[in-house]
Symmetry: D3
Subunit: 131 residues, 6 copies
């Protein structure tokens, strides 16, 4: 259960509905997922998040699939169940193969363990890493 009701199109304010419509148009789907329907209680936050997300995830020096893999990695490290599900699904939709998924998880697992070891040992940063 969410901490606020998920707003249907009928319940959403006009500015929120405009974002819903833009999501539909840009993603070429009728479906608006739960995250946006929960955010719709605050149209300013909804709009700011949607606008920035499009800029950040657009093709650039990194391709959109790589960006999704990074998004999944952060979501796992932050323990966000919803985000792990939604961005794993998005990565698959953008071409993530089972082999890529396996390697993504292996890197996340490796990093998680060496992060813990470096923190437990309080390893000082080598000068050459900050040159």
């Amino acid at each position: 259960m969410p901490t606020v009701p998920l707003l249907t199109d009928a319940e959403a304010s006009a500015p929120a509905r405009a974002v819903f419509d833009d999501i539909r148009a840009k993603r070429q789907t009728d479906y608006v997922n739960n995250f946006w329907r929960a955010l719709a209680h605050d149209p300013a936050q909804l709009s700011a998040t949607w606008e920035r997300l499009q800029q950040v995830m657009a093709p650039g020096a990194l391709d959109p699939l790589v960006k999704e893999l990074i998004y999944v990695a952060v979501s796992v490290a932050n323990g966000c169940s919803y985000c792990v599900h939604s961005h794993t699904a998005a990565a698959k939709a953008k071409g993530m193969t089972p082999e890529m998924h396996g390697e993504l998880l292996s890197v996340i697992a490796m990093a998680s363990q060496t992060n813990a070891l470096a923190t437990a040992l309080q390893v000082p940063t080598d000068d050459r890493f900050t040159a």
Copy 2:
């Protein structure tokens, strides 16, 4: 300051020194960074970590630079200062441009904020993400 002394080659046990030598050979450098010198107090952990790291970070379905970007992302989310420095340096050495670095940080920032929003709202996972 680390919680254990960083072991020099002379102080390390034979099994630990063998890992140091393998690091030098595989990386084609004389330099062994602090993480391994701190881990050397436990040669079994040192060896297991080094062996698995090579397997995980090798070219595969994902290329090594993409894997470094994912490593940085996890390290940031886990707040590991040493790891952020060492893997940002590694990513640069593997070809991360300033543009890629900027985009990596933008995705990490975006994910961090939507992770927080989805958790605060306790958004239920859409059925289609788990189909």
Copy 3:
């Protein structure tokens, strides 16, 4: 499912039941929520937590609603689902309006993203912040 059974009044020890009764009296309700029923397996922890909670959340230099907002923020950052639900409900009961809720979430989202950016960039603290 909890990792221990939730204790009913009949199952709880006398010291635990005394805390249940105090919760009912102080909160003027018959309802004792699941957190306390799970903690009741360790009456010393139950009592220490309940006593300290009352001191910490009492009116002081900060008013109780502000304290609840801070509580929600920490619970979100720590990814505690139960705590997000219970303290969001408590904040509403203490007067949090939808507008306040929206602003609370916006600050949490903003902080989450700048926390990540500052960590990724390993920004050194300005001298003036520690003067």
Copy 4:
């Protein structure tokens, strides 16, 4: 040491310098703190962050000091040293007294411990919290 050089005004691009100037004008100070100088390598991220920060932290249903307290709480939970320093300083500048600071820390400490307990016990959410 940061992972990128902190840009001086002379080193920053024109769009980044424009943000620096806006920070100076809005905050009525000559000082631009390190966070912005590190972010300046990516003028789009710099500008997006600064613009959204002003909207989020402006007076609204919550006053700016309360927002700073929430910001500190999230920064502590995320373990961001830079952010703890900068937002504690900002809270003091906006009127946080030592008593308020003490109460803020007490709530953060209380939430941190009950978050851990609820997670360790995997307490199921009470129906009434999601009604």
Copy 5:
């Protein structure tokens, strides 16, 4: 719902099934828990994780029950629901009494709150702790 199907014995590849069989033999049970069935999509990760887990959790300078308590503590701090459940169950199977469970939770709660306080106060490390 997992992000990948849990593989039955029939669906698992030969190398993955070999790990399942080894789990059954070493644990003297017919049951293979969900974690391994999800990991089975990547037999290399499955095998590496299972092999290392046995080495790490074997009796040594610390006994297996103490190791399980530490495992639970890390899982709580990382907010991993599955891991809290599975390792709490494992600790009980290895002899954790209700008294030990209560004390484990009290230490986790205490550490969580002093971790937050030390981070909020940015307490500098005493020289004597690093001597």
Copy 6:
């Protein structure tokens, strides 16, 4: 640098000094470490933390060294540098050998990586773990 000055005995209030004196008496040392000197700005928090810490860390169903190992594990997972240093030092003072330290770190590393894998895979909890 801390976010508040560390209080000397002369600067501390009478109730805070009384806690300092109790720390000295119970620990049979003249030294009061920085954590308590920073907490001393809020004598109620100082006293509550010190009192509860003694109860929690006293011998019980778990011995004090095991409790310190758990404390270190939580501190690592929460990324608290001060706490990692102070509780690693405390564990050594209570008899942690280098072998125990190595095994502690191996368990923390193992748990960190399986926590990440279980979260990334969103593995559903097996019924038998909650029976």
